[in-house]
């Protein structure tokens, strides 16, 4: 079976004229524009097989969203080639549109003041879906994703988590073969994120849906995707199955403890202390060596603990580690 997505040396540079300051600057800018080129994507190549679930991750400004926009037909690349489901996205945008679903975390495709039900009905017309088949599919998705109770509410009144669930259902109503998700869990609370991750994974497994999502949340990779492409500074720096990446880089947690004592003494394997203020202890825990419960248990045993926070290491650190590993 041919790959769902093939990308060869795709590049994108934004060109804009630098704006001068004040009135004279603006006038000078009109007469003698200083053109600045900003490289957003500096040559990426990869293939994604049909039915694969791939995460494209990287820090802000790395080029993830730009890559996704090029693959979904929103942006034209400066150079390079890509084939998505057999179409060149920026040339065959409308044909491709029938086969893909896209969810932009920040921008909605639903009608804000209309009930969800009406938005779905309008999308049926946008995608030229026959009424019966559409109704069946809609009902199935609504039930599976549990948005039945939201159908009569205006989209604008939904919480962010509820809205994202409806956006994903909306993107799947026309039975696409490929789903693009740009930061789908951004701004959501833990429960909402979990619901969305579960849904995407199950939907993909049930229908052989190819999923490409961008994120800077490492849990999105762990729980949804089988493969991760890391983009940093506009290039791909790593392209690996998720379990390999997890073993290498995401087995760490940061535990922050607020205590009555100015300093806590904890000596556990794989646990290193990070610099912090008095009464605050930040521990870098390698969960392969010591589990989080053990660390928290040891801390609580010392007594006088006022607050405990457990977090993933920041994305930048993961990337940094990746770089460090690549240097070797």
């Amino acid at each position: 079976m041919p790959p769902a997505i093939t990308v060869k040396d795709l590049r994108k540079a934004y060109r804009f004229s630098k704006r001068g300051r004040g009135f004279t600057g603006a006038l000078a800018g009109l007469l003698h524009p200083e053109i600045v080129a900003l490289q957003a994507v500096a040559g990426v190549s990869f293939e994604i097989a049909a039915g694969e679930r791939v995460a494209i991750i990287g820090p802000n400004g790395a080029g993830k969203s730009t890559t996704l926009k090029m693959l979904s037909g929103v942006l034209e690349p400066t150079s390079g080639e890509a084939q998505v489901l057999g179409y060149t996205p920026w040339r065959q945008r409308k044909s491709l549109a029938y086969e893909i679903g896209v969810v932009f975390g920040q921008r909605s495709q639903l009608w804000t003041d209309l009930p969800v039900r009406d938005s779905f009905a309008l999308l049926r017309r946008v995608y030229d879906q026959p009424a019966d088949a559409f109704a069946n599919r809609r009902d199935d998705l609504v039930e599976r994703f549990g948005v039945g109770g939201l159908m009569d509410q205006p989209v604008g009144r939904l919480s962010l988590g509820q809205r994202m669930r409806c956006e994903i259902v909306a993107a799947l109503l026309h039975g696409p073969r490929l789903l693009f998700l740009d930061e789908p869990t951004i701004g959501l609370d833990v429960t909402a994120k979990a619901a969305i991750r579960d849904f995407i994974r199950e939907q993909s497994l049930a229908e052989g849906l190819t999923v490409v999502l961008t994120s800077h949340d490492t849990r999105d990779i762990e729980l949804v995707c089988e493969r991760v492409i890391v983009i940093n500074s506009r290039r791909i720096v790593l392209d690996q199955p998720t379990d390999q990446l997890r073993r290498r880089f995401i087995a760490r947690k940061l535990v922050t403890l607020q205590s009555q004592a100015a300093r806590l003494e904890l000596d556990l394997p794989g646990v290193t202390r990070r610099p912090s203020e008095p009464h605050t202890t930040v521990l870098d825990v390698d969960t392969r060596q010591t589990r989080i419960e053990a660390v928290i248990g040891a801390a609580l045993a010392l007594g006088g603990i006022e607050d405990v926070t457990v977090e993933d290491p920041p994305m930048e650190e993961v990337i940094h580690e990746i770089y460090a590993a690549l240097d070797h």
């Binding site: 060109r15 979904s72 037909g73 034209e76 945008r93 893909i100």
Partner: protein, 258 residues
């Protein structure tokens, strides 16, 4: 045909949305109707004192206002997305539309319906019914004039809004340009001459939005019809060209906000 039914469905959805807050809707419609009524009263007072201007009398101005209110009202009720199209472009709201199969421009026009425009529509139709000739020919000509004017008005608005593909200040500029065009349109065409008239037929095409269609109703003739239709069609073509040029620029990533 598909595009037409899809458009109709979206436009009607936008209209239904505008009804959502009943009190607000009623206030807006009533407010606009009163506003338009006030202008009529002023013109009545003016002609009481001055009798005519450039050969135009109260009846002529009333008919002109009837046509303009109707075409503006209909445009803004059923294609109201043009009003904040520049804003939508600058906020990047075109992205989701690009991932869907239907034409982007139609989606942008159908997304909103402005409640107060019903006040314009109602006032306009009321004026036309009370002041225009009631025979079939007169009615047909008036409807044609409204259709021509709507085409020119929407085309002009699309051109102004498309400036947002090029620069960020276009949001307020496009609003101003639309206001200017309307302002120029709502005075008797006979007052304009020289370079002002040139501006009124080109940069701010009040000429094709109002003057030519109204002129067609006042003095129907085949040349007048050809001029009005030709002008509106030319602006329509220009609007499509400018929008698609702008959209290409947007898709190259050269637009502020994309």
């Amino acid at each position: 045909m598909n595009a037409v039914t899809t458009y109709a469905a979206q436009s009607l959805a936008a209209v239904r949305t505008s009804f959502a807050d009943r009190t607000n809707f009623a206030l807006q419609v009533a407010g606009m109707a009163v506003n338009n009524g006030f202008w009529l009263v002023l013109w009545f007072l003016f002609f009481a004192g001055f009798r005519q201007v450039g050969g135009w009398r109260l009846g002529d101005v009333a008919r002109m206002l009837g046509i303009i209110y109707t075409l503006f009202g209909a445009s803004t009720v059923f294609f109201g997305g043009y009003r904040d199209m520049a804003g939508a472009i600058l906020r990047g709201e075109v992205d989701p539309l690009l991932t869907q199969p239907k034409p982007v421009l139609l989606r942008l026009l159908a997304r909103e319906s402005i409640p107060s425009a019903w006040g314009d529509l109602i006032t306009g139709v009321a004026i036309l019914i009370s002041s225009a000739r009631l025979d079939l020919g007169g009615a047909g000509l008036t409807i044609a004039a409204i259709a021509i004017g709507m085409t020119a008005w929407l085309s002009t608005s699309v051109i102004f809004a498309s400036l947002a593909f090029w620069f960020a200040g276009a949001r307020s500029l496009s609003r101003d340009l639309m206001d200017f065009t309307l302002m120029v349109s709502t005075y008797p065409a006979s007052i304009y001459s020289g370079w002002v008239k040139i501006v009124a037929f080109t940069v701010l095409p009040a000429g094709f939005v109002a003057m030519a269609p109204v002129g067609l109703v006042r003095n129907p003739s085949w040349p007048a019809a050809a001029f009005a239709i030709g002008g509106a069609a030319a602006y329509g073509a220009l609007a499509l060209a400018v929008f698609h040029l702008g959209l290409r620029r947007y898709r190259r990533g050269a637009t502020p906000g994309s």
